[in-house]
């Protein structure tokens, strides 16, 4: 029997693995977004607010959140792609989006509770461990099953995009937009499709995060900090291989937990200090990430023989 703590860690690794996989759909094709915190925040807050203020079940709140996310993603992404905002500019425009989301959530403090965060109204009365309508479960095994399913779904989507014609088109786009357009690739449409999938995955990740943790806070589900966390988790793991984002999630979480267990709470920021230093080293010396570098190591001797 596995204790609650390892179970909790597994759930978090898979959940972040799912979200990071969603991010890397765009990142690996040259669209480095700092705006995914916005999609996660919209997902988490839409569902929790509809539930708390209107008693609307998350089952109905989730489609609303997804629709809102799709609308925001299209409104931002369409002009970006249409006007060829790429590279630095794309990263910084999307960074503005994630900050806007965080600030709107914070500013609507009468509704959202501002920077204190919010807790979904509890539906689990005594003796009930499952409230399907409210999407609240006290049993961590249930959550593990749900999030594992989503994680598999994420990998499947990754594979679908990877195998599809679309990826070749997108790869061509990420290397040279003009050339890709000249051989008949509809650049804007191809980019929009993958952006939409990526944003919706992140949004569902935010919904699951809110329902699992039963607490949302503008600083932990939206804003620049969470967007950077996604980017760097993926880079640490490796964004060009399917399991890379998950490895990144596992690595960062276990590093943080391991250092916390080793040093207790005596040095509160030691884990992030080491993490930050490692990120810098990764990007300089190992731009393919942990898994990417490992795979290279495994493959190299085979090629030599």
């Amino acid at each position: 029997m596995i204790g609650n703590y390892p179970l909790h860690l597994m759930i978090l690794v898979l959940l972040w693995g799912y979200i990071y996989t969603g991010w890397s759909l765009m990142g690996r094709l040259g669209m480095v977004s700092f705006g995914h915190g916005a999609f996660m925040g919209i997902g988490a807050y839409t569902v929790v607010m509809l539930w708390n203020h209107f008693g609307l079940s998350p089952w109905l709140g989730a489609p609303a959140a997804l629709a809102l996310t799709a609308a925001v993603a299209l409104v931002i992404a369409y002009p970006c792609f249409r006007f060829k905002i790429v590279g630095h500019y794309f990263a910084l425009v999307t960074l503005a989006l994630s900050e806007v989301t965080r600030l709107v959530i914070t500013a609507m403090r009468d509704v959202t509770g501002g920077s204190l965060g919010a807790t979904p109204n509890g539906a689990l009365t005594e003796g009930r461990s499952v409230a399907i309508g409210a999407l609240q479960f006290s049993d961590k095994w249930v959550w593990l099953a749900i999030i594992f399913a989503f994680w598999l779904l994420g990998l499947w989507v990754w594979r679908l995009v990877d195998r599809g014609m679309g990826r070749l088109a997108l790869q061509a786009i990420s290397e040279d937009e003009e050339a890709a357009a000249s051989i008949g690739i509809h650049v804007t449409r191809a980019k929009l499709q993958v952006t939409l999938v990526s944003a919706l995955m992140t949004c569902t990740g935010g919904i699951l995060y809110a329902q699992y943790q039963l607490y949302v806070n503008p600083d932990t589900v939206s804003g620049i900090a969470i967007s950077l966390q996604m980017v760097f988790g993926v880079i640490a793991g490796g964004m060009f291989v399917m399991l890379g984002p998950t490895v990144g999630a596992a690595f960062t979480l276990l590093l943080a937990e391991g250092l916390r267990l080793a040093f207790g709470n005596k040095y509160p920021a030691l884990d992030t200090t080491i993490y930050g230093a490692m990120l810098v080293l990764f990007i300089i010396f190992m731009p393919k990430g942990i898994l990417g570098a490992l795979l290279d190591l495994v493959r190299r001797p085979r090629r030599a023989s």
């Binding site: 040259g30 480095v32 931002i76 002009p79 970006c80 006007f83 060829k84 905002i85 590279g87 630095h88 500019y89 990263a91 910084l92 425009v93 960074l95 503005a96 989006l97 900050e99 806007v100 600030l103 709107v104 914070t106 500013a107 804003g223 620049i224 900090a225 950077l228 980017v231 760097f232 880079i235 040095y267 509160p268 920021a269 030691l270 884990d271 992030t272 200090t273 993490y275 930050g276 230093a277 990120l279 810098v280 990764f282 990007i283 300089i284 731009p287």
Partner: protein, 287 residues
Amino acid sequence: MEIFDIYLLEAVLNGLLLGGLLALLSLGLNLIFGVIDVVWICYAELIMCGMYAVYYLHVQYHWPLYAAMPAAIVIVAMLGVLLHQLVIKPVLAAEPINQLLVTGGVLFFLQAAATLAFGIDFKNLGVSLPAVRIGEMSFSAARLIAFGAAVLGVLGLFVFLRKTYLGTAIRAISQDRAIMPLMGVSPGRIYTLTSALGGALAGLGSCLLVLQYDVHPAIGLSFGPITFLICVMGGLGSMAGGLIAAFVFAQFISVGGFFFAVEWGYVIAFAFFIGMMFVRPQGLFRR
């Protein structure tokens, strides 16, 4: 109605003062980008380091402010050089986005290291400057000083770039990276110098900010994003664009905050930024 107008005027003037400060902050970033073609995402964290330097030198070691502040400027300038030598140099030939991300890693590192070293509590310099009253309006002296110093900093940089030999070399290399080595200018040395200069500007910014705000490890996140957006809206690398964008942004924040809550001022400014990007994708002034 009359009262209302005078407070609005106060908000506009406060926005002007804020604009000066933002202009100074964006200037260093623009200089770095214009010359080295790298965005220092961790720029605001360098400013945080400078703020801590002033705080510790003044409060802990009882240095007078007129000694602590220049020392902080030198420290941050050295941090800028270190950043360039240790982190930027190895990725200069890598993809541009890697250069953006590597400084993002430095952001994480500096923020966490500051938490580790200084704790998360807010630290106040303990210098209280009087408010200056003009008619019905009052302005904090710290803001007036910051505005004055920022204007001097901007002018100083302008004169340096225009009138000195090194300044000319810096401008030349930002215009044509490939040809300058052939003219006998060593790009490596110019990059190091520019990093020091950018760091010194961040250091000056930190001296002005520490007079107005408490220092804490996450303070970079509160004005870092706005600084990038100003640079992008002005056109990355364009100093004139950055100056104009800084004053526009400051008015949105100040006047927007006057009519609504402070956060809404920022929301309006950011939304305006996103809108502007679609009108002029390469910024107000294309480089």
